[in-house]
């Protein structure tokens, strides 16, 4: 059985790093709340999948990466782009479909891209980006460089063929790729135990003799440490890892879905909220006197200001010129 990584002790010399993780998670939380409101007001269209509750996974794992690494995500990816450094303005403008958006208004919520930061897309066909990420890993190995390719997907994707085909080839060819399964328990409204014969996602790596780790996805420091080990393995030995981060989403599958519906209870939701990743880190940092109440307030205020700025930027940005309609179909 795969062991679940436990939370590391705090190191006072890294207070700045912890505070930064805290700010990133809070930024994502507030961003998503604002996106939810803007969606309700019709300013954001299409499908919009919020990440509230899962912040520790994106923030903890991306903190362990280098600027030249590659990231591929599913369609619940606002957080990954933000954690990677794409500005809230560029992400919010993309949700609004504006030409200043990180995908110039062509992609929307499910297709954020920021190639400069190695952020190669939100992909909206479940599982389709798993082999694509391994392809970036393939290129790294072929070129003899030492980046890693990271792939985020939900636990519902592990039952699709692409996942198995890819894990097999990644292990066979030793591709420096890290597969992070964000196990939030539900694929839309279907619980993992109702869709998978093997409940333990990390265990799936055994089939391909691949390294795997399970981690508490509500604990940002545990996620960070787990990711650091996987990155080390990929960089030095070109070896892939499957990480299962056990987490929970507070919102419905998308903005068009009920928050708990028939598939989970309010009690379960409340129970999970008690493990909130942002609250947990704040309490630890305040208890350890690495952050004061005044610091907490200051972070909240600066995050609020940044999000308001992003909203205003998105609202005021122009729509793409209709002349670009067919501009991006082919590279000329």
């Amino acid at each position: 059985m795969t062991a679940t990584a436990s939370s590391p002790a705090l190191d006072a010399s890294r207070a700045e790093f912890y505070r930064n993780l805290y700010r990133q998670m809070l930024l994502i939380r507030r961003f998503e709340e604002k996106a939810g409101e803007a969606y309700a007001q019709g300013q954001i269209g299409g499908f919009c999948h919020l990440y509230i509750g899962q912040e520790a996974v994106a923030v903890g794992s991306i903190a362990a990466l280098r600027d030249d690494d590659y990231l591929f995500t599913s369609y619940r990816e606002h957080a990954h782009a933000l954690a990677r450094g794409t500005t809230p303005r560029a992400v919010m403008a993309e949700l609004f479909g504006k030409e200043t958006g990180c995908s110039k208004g062509m992609g929307g919520s499910m297709h954020l891209f920021d190639a400069e930061r190695g952020f190669l897309g939100g992909h909206a066909i479940v599982g389709s980006h798993i082999p694509i990420a391994a392809g970036a890993g393939f290129a790294v190995k072929a070129r003899g460089t030492d980046q890693v390719a990271v792939c985020y997907f939900g636990e519902a994707a592990v039952n699709i063929g692409a996942f198995h085909e890819t894990l097999n080839m990644a292990a066979l060819w030793q591709l420096p790729t890290i597969f992070i399964c964000e196990n939030n328990r539900y694929g839309m409204g279907t619980a993992l135990e109702r869709s998978a014969a093997v409940y333990d996602v990390a265990q799936r790596a055994c089939s391909y003799d691949m390294a795997s780790e399970r981690v508490d996805g509500m604990d940002v420091l545990a996620v960070y440490e787990t990711m650091r080990r996987a990155v080390e393995l990929a960089r030095s030995d070109h070896l892939p890892t499957l990480i299962e981060a056990r987490t929970y989403r507070y919102m419905g599958h998308s903005m068009a879905d009920p928050i708990h519906g028939h598939y989970r209870t309010k009690e379960e939701l409340e129970e999970q909220k008690a493990r909130d990743p942002i609250d947990q880190l704040r309490v630890r940092l305040v208890d350890a006197k690495l952050m004061s109440d005044a610091d907490v307030d200051a972070v909240e205020a600066s995050v609020q200001e940044e999000i308001e700025g992003a909203l205003q930027f998105a609202e005021e940005s122009p729509d793409p010129d209709p002349a670009v309609l067919d501009q991006y179909v082919y590279q000329s």
């Binding site: 891209f113 897309g121 692409a162």
Partner: protein, 328 residues
Amino acid sequence: MPTITYRDALNQALREEMQRDPEVFLMGEEVGVYQGAYKVSRGLLEEFGEQRVVDTPIAELGFAGIGVGAAMVGMRPVIEFMTWNFALLAIDQVVNSAAKMHFMSGGQRSVPIVFRGPGGAALQLAAQHSQAFESWYAHIPGLKVVAPATPYDAKGLLKSAIRDDNPVVFLEGEMLYNMKGEVPDEEFTVPLGLAEVKRPGRDVTLICHSKTVTVAQRAADQLADGHGIDAEVVDLRTIRPLDLETIVASVRKTNRCVIVEEGWPFCGVGAQVIDDIQREAFDHLDAPILRVTQADIPMPYNKRLEKAAKPSPERVVDAVRRVTYLDT
């Protein structure tokens, strides 16, 4: 000029492009140690090593996606499908990933990849192995679709496809691999998006591509010998983007047109070509355009039935006699 096979022309194109650009690699089932299911990749493993000539498990979706990912970070993969029938397992990567990435990212990343392999019916391979998928891929904005008919075009077009910054679906003719033709030693490419008049004529335009170019040429010979009809043969070479200019110029000259293709009739390539012609050359048409396609059925195994289901020079001659009002 040397005379070589279509297969060797493709092999030369792969070898030359891999020599020219270290980012080009070939991946697929049996491309390496086995030397290629149809021997298109013969000798490449020995020359370029297993990092660049990569044998895969039977996992079309997975290795097509790995190709897309490598292309997104700037490599130039050539993904070989043992046949296009198996590529249906990978069509998600071709249609949902490769064709969309440049668009969805607002132009930030293109996918310079070639998906290639044999398509169309060979001999008695029955329903699941005898299919021409040109129109499926040509339907998709973001893809380019190429189907060469001669060794010269096969080499020149594959080199262009590998150098193109967009995903290219490159459909080879399974029955064409042994076809011989002149291919110069010196470097050349054939640009994507250009049709070619393979035989000039006055009375009727025969539009074709891939294997049906031979069918059309044979029909043109019969028409000239026994029917007094001078047929022009237009080889599309690239299905998307379609070279409307050459097609329309020919039909405006001949006033009549027959389209010959290996695919099924419904929503086929010919249906699209007819749509363009009726718009661009309506007042030049002296007869409705006819099509000669595969029969609208899965391919039967029995040899006589198979022959009856395929486009043939005889069926083309019949269609031409009707559009020229020699038969009604």
